[in-house]
């Protein structure tokens, strides 16, 4: 069986499998969900676009935020909860932020049980490092390669448990029976052969959308597949206007523009300077964080060793604040030769300390930019890093509005509000991955024999749709369409937005959708990247439209959404509601509605009653 037949109905061209739970995506969230489903007794499969162990989680550097109190016994879930809500500018779903803060410590300990080797404190406990927006040193870490440690641990656990993994297989459609999930459809990247998974529960764990932007820290996989699959299935997305631009991406050489430079550089003492040598972050401390941020260099420098009597350096403000400040400095003409800002740790820490704490960064700059970060400053600038928005889910089960469809990790929404704190993504993957795996298993096994069925007509339609790009003669090249989309999103829906540019982006996306309807692919179905991109592009266009529409509607600035024409944060109107995106009636675009924020119970409100006394 080669799978090379062009016809979707060729004999033997379809593989069929049956499971209780199918997890789409094998990053931290997907693997944790699969392990939980397995432990709960489900027959579970993991399906992923890449090889096992290559998912984007591997890129996470800084650490996993968890209030274990190993360095600061004062730390606890309440403080972590408060930091998370304030970092997200109070738009987070309070229940998700609460569950996350409460359960993250045990999820980290569990990784250690399974063989993870975190860096240690002098007492031999799991070490915890400082990060932006976190009141205490809270990130469990392994040098600056925490994501690698996490994914390898989960991967090895998955293999140990004998969970079925379908590698290099892309899911393109979900099936339903009377409004309930009945299965998923995809193709092997290697052969192009189609695969049907019959399963009453599907967990989306597909990650983010960054590949729709030109300058991004994200890999090719980040095409918003889960977001788009959920939309098409009838679920809704929230918070899509909030896209995190990480303040520190590489800016040179061009080949690595956007590549992430970990926040740990700042957590471990690095500072930001403009071309005049000024530590400019002191000029950008917002009122919201003024009480807890140092206003002199002396106090900021003392904080690393004495957190009780000093306030946090402004370089460690949440990412949205730092990214905007860097953007302003560059625009004001105080940027570096390659259009960035200096990130300097060389003048502040010893070469030994830097190589020990930041080995990957040392390696990355040495190999790719010929820069020795122990001797000279790095040049950095903002890069599209993370989407706060995602599938709207129930906070306790991660189920979407569609019965049997769950979403976890970056492709779900609500947990991070308008801005995610560094270190909160890895905890998010573990905490909600586990909850989703358990909830999906309970639902699937509770169905008994009365399982939703896959209709043969739906299956045929999915097959035809997947090979459609081969049937076009002389259409547009998918690489060209992708490149134009990335440029458009970067220029018009980037870090600073205006109504005029957002309206233009929607016109451009419409035109790109038109071009995508007639795009053509050369070659055949065996390991054909052009074809793969053509299918992913449909998702990218739908998700890009979601972002642009929501960004145009939200007439304020908050977190990962900055409007030049509405610079204020509007607590009275926009602080009380979410924008919800769903598929329009024609099924080719999206429409918006509004939903009030879930009401926080009084016992949690007390953490925000008055400005915290900073001692």
């Amino acid at each position: 069986m080669t799978g090379n037949e062009m016809s979707p109905e060729s004999a033997g061209g379809m593989e069929r499998h049956a499971y209780d739970v199918v997890v789409v995506g094998a990053g931290g969230a997907g693997l944790r969900a699969a392990i939980a489903a397995h432990d709960a007794g489900a027959r579970v499969a993991v399906v992923c676009k890449s090889l096992l162990g290559k998912a984007h989680t591997v890129m996470a550097e800084g650490g996993i935020a968890a209030a274990m109190g190993n360095r600061w016994p004062e730390d606890n879930w309440e403080v972590h909860f408060r930091d998370t809500m304030r970092g997200g500018k109070m738009l987070n779903h309070w229940r998700m932020a609460q569950l996350h803060a409460q359960q993250a410590p045990e999820r980290v300990m569990e990784l250690e049980d399974w063989g993870a080797l975190f860096d240690r404190t002098d007492d031999g406990l799991i070490s915890q490092r400082d990060f932006g927006g976190h009141r205490y040193a809270r990130l469990a870490h392994v040098g600056d390669r925490t994501g690698l440690e996490m994914i390898r641990t989960l991967q090895q656990r998955t293999v140990q448990l004998g969970i079925d993994v379908f590698m290099e297989l892309t899911v393109t459609d979900l099936f339903q029976d009377d409004g309930r999930i009945s299965g998923a459809f995809g193709y092997w990247r290697e052969t192009g052969r189609f695969v049907l998974f019959e399963a009453p529960a599907v967990i989306l764990a597909t990650g983010g959308i960054g590949k729709s932007f030109k300058v991004t820290s994200n890999s090719w996989e980040y095409t918003g597949d889960g977001h788009a699959l959920a939309l098409r299935a009838g679920a809704s997305l929230i918070n899509m206007e909030f896209v995190q631009f990480h303040p520190t991406g590489m800016v040179w050489p061009p080949s690595v523009k956007g590549l992430l430079v970990t926040e740990s550089v700042r957590g471990d003492g690095g500072v930001l300077k403009n071309s005049e040598g000024t530590r400019f972050m002191f000029d950008y401390i917002p009122d919201f964080f003024r009480a807890e941020t140092a206003d002199t260099e002396e106090e900021a420098d003392r904080w690393y060793d004495d957190k009780k009597n000093n306030r946090r350096p402004p370089e460690l403000l949440p990412r949205d604040e730092v990214a905007r400040a860097i953007n302003s400095e560059i625009k004001a003409g105080r940027g570096t030769p390659h259009g960035g800002i200096y990130l300097d740790i060389a003048s502040r820490r010893t070469p030994e300390f830097i190589r020990k704490r930041l080995p990957s960064m040392y390696h990355q700059f040495k190999e790719l930019a010929d820069v020795d970060i122990t001797a000279e400053p790095m040049e950095i600038g903002p890069t599209c890093h993370y989407v706060m928005g995602g599938v709207e889910v129930d906070p306790d089960t991660q189920e979407s509005a569609v019965t049997g469809l769950y979403a976890v990790g970056e492709c779900s929404g609500g947990m991070h509000g308008s801005n995610r704190l560094g270190g909160n993504s890895l905890g998010d993957l573990l905490v909600f991955g586990k909850l989703a795996g358990e909830a999906a298993t309970a639902y699937a096994t509770g169905l008994g024999r009365a399982r939703p069925a896959v209709a043969e007509d739906d299956l045929r339609a999915a097959s035809h749709s997947a090979v459609a790009p081969f049937e076009v003669e002389g259409g547009d090249n998918p690489y060209a369409i992708q490149s134009d989309l990335q440029q458009s999103m970067n220029d018009l829906v980037g870090i600073i937005r205006t109504a005029g540019e957002l309206e233009r982006s929607l016109v451009e996306i419409e035109a790109l959708k038109e071009r995508a309807r007639s795009m053509a692919v050369e070659g055949h179905r065996q390991y054909n990247p052009g074809w793969h991109l053509a299918l992913d592009l449909r998702n990218m266009l739908l998700v890009s439209e979601s972002i642009a529409r929501a960004a145009l509607a939200r007439e304020e600035s908050r977190g990962g959404h900055t409007r030049d024409d509405f610079p204020q944060t509007d607590h009275e109107v926009w602080g009380r509601k979410n924008l919800v995106v769903s598929l329009d009636a024609a099924g080719t675009g999206v429409e918006l509605s509004e939903r009030p924020l879930p009401e926080m119970p009084d016992e949690l409100k007390k953490y925000f009653d008055e400005p915290r006394k900073e001692s």
């Binding site: 890449s50 090889l51 096992l52 162990g53 290559k54 984007h56 591997v58 890129m59 300990m109 250690e112 049980d113 399974w114 063989g115 080797l117 975190f118 860096d119 240690r120 007492d123 031999g124 406990l125 070490s127 392994v142 390669r145 690698l148 440690e149 390898r152 090895q156 656990r157 293999v159 140990q160 590698m167 290697e190 890999s219 090719w220 040179w252 050489p253 061009p254 080949s255 690595v256 590549l259 992430l260 080995p359 990957s360 390696h363 990355q364 190999e367 790719l368 090249n477 998918p478 690489y479 490149s483 692919v521 050369e522 070659g523 055949h524 065996q526 390991y527 054909n528 990247p529 052009g530």
Partner: protein, 258 residues
């Protein structure tokens, strides 16, 4: 500064293939993967390449560049003369799927046969304690990005298909070493390493260490210490006697053979 780069890229599948010549515009600061991506976007949309992070962190884009096993995303064009032709071929040890993409399932099969970490109970307060100096030895091996270049270059399997069944390869020898050096692990896997993984077939030519993009000292820090420990267990008469009469060396104290 842009210039025209001459490339020879292997195109084909399991049934065979050949080196194909291309000329592609590249610029300073780019890597081999950039040049191939530009080929893909402008000249040959169906060129098969496996890649992910483009940052040397995921280990997906392994290939042989001018005959040397390397990551395409970490090989800078400035390492070559601008007039030089760069030849890119798939990893030779694994069967070709298409173009530069190989079937690396050998490694995933071997991973399934591996033992796993088995720690004792947590301390009374629910936490575990290990000292930094003790975890560092194993941490070196956990920087492995599973690019499988060490497997590709290893002469035990590179041109000896029949050895694959009995030989796990350097990537998995460091996993054995990692578990063996884990401060809280409770299993003794020395017999497994020797018998099931074929540690004895390695004759420490250090090729694996030379190609490791993470700079892991595979031979010196993992393979040789593991070989010594296996030998201690098997041939040291004092250890043999100690085992017979129930004494345990410090090395494997509290560990159970699996």
């Amino acid at each position: 500064m842009a210039y025209d780069l001459k490339m020879r890229v292997w195109r084909g599948d399991a049934d065979g293939g050949e080196l194909t010549d291309y000329t592609v515009q590249v610029s300073d600061g780019e890597v081999v993967l950039d040049a191939l991506h530009r080929l893909q976007a402008t000249q040959t949309g169906d060129l098969a390449i496996r890649w992910n992070c483009k940052a040397g962190k995921c280990g997906s884009c392994s290939a042989e560049i001018n005959g040397r096993p390397r990551l395409m995303c970490m090989t800078r064009l400035s390492d070559f003369d601008q007039a030089e032709t760069i030849t890119v071929t798939p990893m030779r040890t694994f069967p070709v799927i298409r173009d530069l993409v190989t079937d690396v399932s050998f490694n995933y099969e071997k991973a399934k046969q591996l033992p796993y970490a088995e720690l004792g109970p947590r301390d009374a307060d629910g936490k575990r304690r290990m000292m930094q100096v003790d975890v560092e030895r194993s941490q070196e091996f956990r920087t492995c990005i599973e690019c499988y270049l060490c497997q590709d270059v290893c002469h035990v399997v590179r041109d000896h298909e029949d050895n694959k069944q009995h030989f796990a390869g350097p990537r998995f020898f460091i996993r054995y070493a990692e578990l063996d050096m884990h401060p809280l692990d409770t299993h003794d896997r020395r017999a497994l390493a020797q018998d099931a993984a074929g540690l004895g077939m390695c004759n420490i030519t250090k090729c694996c260490t030379e190609v490791c993009p993470e700079g892991i000292h595979i031979t010196d820090n993992a393979i040789i210490p593991m070989k010594e420990r296996v030998v201690d267990r098997k041939y040291d008469p004092l250890v043999w006697l100690g085992n017979k009469i129930g004494l345990r060396s410090q090395d494997d104290e509290g560990r159970t053979e699996v």
